[in-house]
Point group: C2
Amino acid sequence: MDQKLFKYADLLVRAGGNVQPGQPVVISSDVADAGFARLVSECAYNAGASEVVIDWTDELSARMKYLRASDEVFDMFPPWRTDRFKYYDDRNAVYLHILSSDPDLLQGVEPGRIKRATKVMREGTKAHRAVTMTNERRWSLAAVPSPKWAAKVFPELAEKEAVEKLWGLIFKGARADGENPVKDWEAHRNNFLKRVDYLNETQFSALKFKNSLGTDLYLPLIEKHIWVGGGAVGRDGVPFFPNMPTEEIFTMPARIGAEGRVVASLPLSYQGSLIEGFWFEFKNGRVTDFGAEKNADSLKLIVDMDEGSRFLGEVALISNNSPIAQMKTLFYETLFDENASCHLALGKAYPYNLAGGCDMTERELAEAGANDSLLHVDFMFGTEDMSIIGIEPSGTEKAVMEKGEFCI
Amino acid sequence: MDQKLFKYADLLVRAGGNVQPGQPVVISSDVADAGFARLVSECAYNAGASEVVIDWTDELSARMKYLRASDEVFDMFPPWRTDRFKYYDDRNAVYLHILSSDPDLLQGVEPGRIKRATKVMREGTKAHRAVTMTNERRWSLAAVPSPKWAAKVFPELAEKEAVEKLWGLIFKGARADGENPVKDWEAHRNNFLKRVDYLNETQFSALKFKNSLGTDLYLPLIEKHIWVGGGAVGRDGVPFFPNMPTEEIFTMPARIGAEGRVVASLPLSYQGSLIEGFWFEFKNGRVTDFGAEKNADSLKLIVDMDEGSRFLGEVALISNNSPIAQMKTLFYETLFDENASCHLALGKAYPYNLAGGCDMTERELAEAGANDSLLHVDFMFGTEDMSIIGIEPSGTEKAVMEKGEFCI
């Protein structure tokens, strides 16, 4: 196990963030994951990091704060927190995030507090998110199973077995269980390239999604969109993998134009509550109606965050035969679940999904038709019978996916 | 045990920091002590804290950084860290510190790195230390046994027994093991008052220390000095206990004038190394010679930090019959060891040990004869045969302590 953990930590440093000699590294980690965070630190120093800073969080304290702090606290994001990001952004830091949240952490918390805290946090970290969303700074997310998370995924198992089983799926899903995982990820990147190149050359003007669950969506893509998959490339030319695992190929929809109905195929775990059986109606790009069988209130929090959270910022295609799709497991964690199924995101679009987007101002991005929001929330709508048709600029239709598998 | 821990956490909040409704609380804690830190948080919210912020540290990561980070890192103290203190100082926060350090943590670290990091840290936290050292903001220190610390104190015991035994001494030493510890601390405060009042009225111009270990020191006290013991009173009138435990009565020596030799009676644990068998020669207040049987290098780090670290900033009297003195245990932690024995401190003096000192500028304090330094390092020199004679302004001599016990 020790060696597996070390390989996984090393993978996060070398393939994930691709730390270069002399760079500071900022690790965000829950205090419960201190052991793994220290392994990541060690690997970062091995890779030549000038300094490793750990930004500790404690989800239990965060919950206590939500339940017991004075109300005005939730409208404050201390300037020093913004300055901290700026300090490390200015020094070209690599950001590594260790995820392990209890999916039910925020149950019972007043949703208004979460919404307000999220809003000021998003505003306070805007400049930092700008440099990560445009690949000016490298970053990577990886997961570690907490007992509560594992118990949620495998409620039928004892805690220890649940954690072990979740570790197994994480190692496998993150392709960290081979002899040389860093090399395996190189191969993984190359496998993406053909499909990505085809999609970028074809430049479909729109995609049509249809399945038996009730999804029937016409989705125009932004002009000069760029499909991305198999990792990203920093603006300095250094490749990295923002997400481990990653099985998706994704691009930017046009802000205006989506028409039809989307029915989610997996529940969405959002800030501690599980939104189930939900759907959206789109008219001219905007969510005009929505509903959920469970936790519709939380869905409303997302949709009503700001004007941009009613529009789409990402469309991602994943084949049925991705290793994570094959696990047939609901992870209650977007990092994994988004790699099991085609998905859309409400909210901010990634500028690198648009030719020249990383050099555009916010206004230029908006004028080009990119969506903006404080949020970016993925939700799954892929199924085993998903059909996707691409419409070429000439009007010719081409099958992109049939019965959930690529046919390009 | 759960109830004992809860009482101890509550004591730190109510008697230690004396948190008042609406105040933010900043807890500093190692990630290994997360469980206790959360208990303290809970007690702080019970006392009406508006918000609890935990400033997490991780001593193992700190050690890794000392060993592996780039050299220039040790001359930097990021401005956001200064701003963070200012943010909470401005909001009238109470600071609670949980101590649990492995006394040997920094063994093998290059001393120059520690010295440089300490220097920039002290400079970066100068404004914050000013408001805590003048009692403008309340703060309190309490200890929690880490396995490594416990193993150092009781090397003959197995880890579990060592931790249990250290917990026992901490509860007892911090007077946290009674039915109602908060009340016990009220009584503790009142017991100090008579002796403190006598000393403040008498206004000895100097003290003469002598014992069989070789100490023979003439120590002038600053004019209008104030003896403090049994806790402090915030500038807003709210009482608090900066240290738990506290058994000392202490005041400010004059910067100029100490003459003679001081031989330490206990080793000094300083930044990971244990300085043993050490002594100082004072001439006109200044350390003119010093030596140690072990780790003289670390002693040199202290003495040479700056000019002020060669002069005295505190003299504290502790009776042989204090509960901690009775334990006859070397704790390798100043918070405990300083309550076992009379001690002196090299470095900065506390302004509240001088009448009007809290309202003086740095320059006025210096002109009044108070010592200033980036450091404040306590060391023990009390023994069972310590004799202290006080010299009244008239020249009359009075016995203050005989054979290690007060005779006032």
